[in-house]
């Protein structure tokens, strides 16, 4: 079931990215150059902040989430990525009351689907793979089972500390708007690895992952980022 679900997300992601590639494709020449593009040198560290999750948090009462990202250009259009953040949820339903907080990080790689056209070209459409980890603290929860016939029953579930592990397939785009200032989005399909740990009471929101009572989720980030660049040793001046 998990594999089927992952394949579905993978197919959707690939289709989405091929659409993006098609949209950004440059006009082709009549001649076909089959030579491998020359490696484009240069270092880049790009640090960014997600503006989508705080925007969502400002429109709902029950949760907040903040995410940051940093990536480093390795070579051959591969980027190492680290993402981290925190968030909380405050549930106050008639039949369920609790709070949860969590920190998270994700590590992985992005692979650009375009060869760089010039040393100054850092725009990219990418696919990525991540491992994610969240450390969660959930408060004591109070529940009520509403039964209009036999009467309501109320009880409590003790506080719990949980860890959440997941893997992500991601895809997205990033373009340079001004010198060093970039914007982009990432669409993520996430698959939790330790579902059995969330049987007692899964937090409604896990920052970095999403809805805690779902074993697989889609997520979306919109990043504004700043790129710091320098030349590699031995690079020719551009």
């Amino acid at each position: 079931m998990l594999i089927q679900s992952m394949l579905k997300y993978l197919c959707i992601s690939i289709c989405l990215l091929f659409c993006s590639v098609d949209l950004l494709a440059l006009p082709t020449n009549d001649t076909v150059d089959i030579a491998k593009p020359k490696e484009q040198y240069g270092h880049q560290i790009c640090v960014g902040v997600d503006i989508f999750q705080p925007f969502i948090s400002s429109t709902v009462n029950y949760r907040t989430g903040y995410e940051f990202t940093a990536d480093y250009y390795f070579k051959n259009d591969v980027y190492f990525v680290v993402e981290a953040g925190w968030g909380d949820a405050n549930i106050n339903y008639p039949d369920l009351v609790y709070k949860s907080t969590n920190n998270f990080f994700r590590i992985g790689i992005n692979k650009s689907l375009f060869a760089r056209l010039s040393p100054k070209d850092w725009d990219m459409g990418f696919v990525g793979l991540r491992y994610g980890f969240a450390s969660i603290q959930r408060s004591n929860a109070t529940y009520t089972v509403i039964d209009s016939f036999w009467g309501n029953t109320t009880g409590s579930v003790p506080a719990q500390e949980l860890n959440c592990h997941w893997v992500e397939l991601s895809g997205g785009m990033r373009v340079e708007l001004f010198k060093g200032i970039c914007a982009g989005y990432t669409i993520r399909g996430k698959f939790r690895l330790n579902n059995n740990d969330f049987q007692l009471l899964a937090p409604v929101y896990i920052a970095g992952y999403g809805r805690g009572d779902k074993n697989s989720v889609f997520d979306f980030n919109l990043y504004i980022s700043y790129a710091i660049r320098w030349k590699r040793k031995g690079d020719s001046p551009h």
Binding site: C19, D95, V145, F149, W150, F220
Partner: protein, 172 residues
């Protein structure tokens, strides 16, 4: 053209995720009160191997009655042609009784039967949308014998599966 297409795709994606993320509470799409489903059957003979043959029995406006938490008798009247009845267990007890009249058009104390359920209850987390619910494990079911011949537990587990017949009622 390309920029406009990218903006359009981004707008659609962001809108979809915005809608999904801003729902305060997803609607609960499953029952939170678990039901015991009872099917009515009548013995009609035996097959060539000697096994008993039963057929579903249609009841004429059956009713189910129990005393609720306030001590009031509450009755559910089923439409004509029903062949299965649904009752609920009390989560604060390990047994409960339901008075079942198979034919409301001919009401008399002699025609109503009392079915007593003995069970264990287990608290289960369904989801944040639905909260908690009690599941049950049926241990024993007994009945009086006015219009019912006997009862038999067909499935001991009472949970969110609504397509299961838990108890078979055999009519005289």
């Amino acid at each position: 053209m390309i920029k406009n297409s990218c903006k359009f795709i981004l707008l659609i994606v962001a809108t979809v995720f915005f809608y999904a993320c801003t729902q305060e509470r997803l609607p609960c799409a499953q029952p939170t009160i678990m039901s015991v489903v009872m099917g009515c059957h009548k013995w009609i003979g035996v097959d060539t191997l000697g096994n008993p043959i039963f057929k579903d029995t249609i009841l004429n406006h059956p009713t189910v009655t129990a005393r609720d938490s306030a001590g009031q008798l509450r009755t559910s009247i089923y439409p004509q042609g029903s062949n299965s009845l649904i009752v609920h267990m009390s989560p604060i007890s390990d047994s409960c009784q339901w008075i079942i009249s198979a034919d409301t058009t001919q009401v008399s104390l002699d025609s109503a039967d009392v079915i007593t359920f003995y069970y264990q209850s287990q608290l289960n987390f369904l989801s944040n949308a639905c909260g908690y619910a009690y599941f049950y494990t049926l241990q024993k079911v007994v009945t009086t014998h006015h219009t019912f011949d006997s009862v038999q537990i067909a499935n001991t587990t009472v949970n969110t599966n609504v397509n299961t017949e838990h108890v078979k009622i055999f009519m005289h």
